[in-house]
């Protein structure tokens, strides 16, 4: 009997349930966070510091654009950025696993290949929970307005979790292909430029020509609109669907990038 027939007919017998593998990889990510707090603390401290710094330094810029409290503008940005830092952790973790040989053992495991991609991504989302919540908490302490009610916070979390997923999948795809620390650096660059070449600092109406043109077509602008809507007004479908489409498109592309990267690595 060939391998394909075996896996088709007896998958429930030979394969470990993917959900169990994903769960184990998430637990492993959290264990790594606990064992190496020095690597995790900056990803909590930086978004909080940036929230305070941006609100303090650039507050006037958003106030002149008609936004009452700078926190309303910068909390979603920093929640998203804090969530995206997990992607670097994914890349570093994978490189470490490749160097120590643990990744080869994972490849030999009797499980679906996609669970090896979903596991680290789920771990990254779990890891992002703390920075996201801390940024929101600091936002409340700083007088953040929430006219959209609890749904406003849900939108911030959805956007941040979506970006965390996309960034982590991108980091995996790149690391599978490059297999060195350069992948983490490139991931950081890609995230940084994607976030900052959008409406990260000021609304579209305040921008000058080239940045306006770039930010207008940058999908991150839609994601930020999705995240910010409930802090600037009501949560509406008009402000939501564009962000969801952008997230779905980025997820599809980065997911394909990660899965094809894993396949190329196996070859």
């Amino acid at each position: 009997m060939n391998t394909a027939t075996t896996s088709a007919t007896t998958s429930t017998t030979y394969f470990t349930r993917p959900s169990a593998v994903v769960g184990a990889l998430v637990r492993r990510t959290m264990l790594r966070v606990r064992r190496m707090p020095s690597a995790f603390v900056p990803s909590i401290a930086m978004p909080v510091f940036q929230l305070i710094a941006f609100s303090g330094a650039f507050g006037a810029a958003v106030r002149f654009a008609g936004i009452a409290n700078a926190m309303d503008w910068y909390v979603p940005l920093n929640a998203i950025q804090g969530a995206s830092f997990g992607a670097m952790g994914v890349s570093f973790g994978l490189i470490n696993d490749m160097q120590t040989g643990f990744f080869d053992r994972l490849l030999m495991a009797p499980t679906r290949r996609w669970s090896l991609v979903v596991g680290p991504i789920a771990g990254s989302i779990a890891r992002a929970a703390l920075p996201i919540l801390l940024v929101i908490l600091v936002g409340f302490l700083g007088g953040m307005n929430v006219p959209g009610g609890p749904l406003a916070i849900v939108m911030v979390i959805v956007a941040a979790a979506g970006v965390s997923t996309t960034a982590s999948a991108f980091a995996l795809g790149l690391t599978y292909r490059m297999r060195n620390m350069g992948a983490a650096t490139l991931t950081q660059f890609a995230i940084f430029f994607t976030i900052f070449l959008s409406t990260s600092q000021v609304p579209l109406s305040s921008m000058a020509s080239w940045l306006h043109a770039v930010a207008r077509i940058n999908p991150m602008t839609n994601v930020l609109r999705l995240a910010r809507q409930g802090l600037l007004g009501d949560v509406t479908w008009d402000q939501t669907w564009g962000g969801l489409v952008a997230l779905a498109a980025m997820l599809a592309l980065s997911g394909w990038f990660a899965l094809s990267g894993l396949k190329s690595l196996e070859k």
Binding site: G56, F64, S206, W210
Partner: protein
Amino acid sequence: MSSGSAILHTAVLTRRSVRGRLRQPAALTPSFVFPLFFAALGSASFSRIADRPDFAAIAPSFLNYAVAGAIVQGVLFASTSAAGDLATDIEQGFFERLLASPVTRTSILLGRLGSAMVVAVVQVTIFLAIFLAFGARIETGVIGFIGLVVAGALLALAMSGLMSGLAIKSGSPEVVQGAFPMVFALMFLSSAFFPRQYMTGWYQDVATWNPMSHVVEGMQGFMNQPLNVDQFLRAWLIPLGIALAAIAFGLRSLNKRLAAL
């Protein structure tokens, strides 16, 4: 050992350090790319603010305002990375090989500081050339240009002195890199990226107390105001004062490390 040989050793170690830095473009690139990117981003994001009548007293355009911040950011990034190289030398044993050679002890530190200053002079010159090409103008002309280059070199001396002291004391590149967020905080809690006049509350108070604000504003003076003594006092004397204290700290750390060997 004579002071002549100390100068010679410092020059040789400065050259070695500059070469070492040029051989690692990946380490040097962020200190060029990020400041220029932030300046471009800031001038595009905040250009509407420059249209306000009260901004005219600060700078003719936001690009002109952003030049000093970019120079400070670039110099601080590069200086921190230079000190990281010194810590790597200690960690990898090159420092001990230097000690076994007949080289003056102080030149080990001064060579590093010299290279940070050389890199800063080149960096500030490149930055100014790029900004001038994109439409910035230096209100104080050639004197202002020289003022900015010297200010960048002195700031590099101050920051690399502090970080090198830390590198010698700890002998760990991680510790030097771990101190980097402090540099980041020092910049963001100042008027490097946005005018202090538009800040409010405690943030404005912190920025006012932060010496970095005064260094940046001295440099902004060269860019945007008629020439006056205040610009030299703020852009040159503050970094020079910090540099002297930093060199004393570095030499003390060096002596302690030598005594412990």
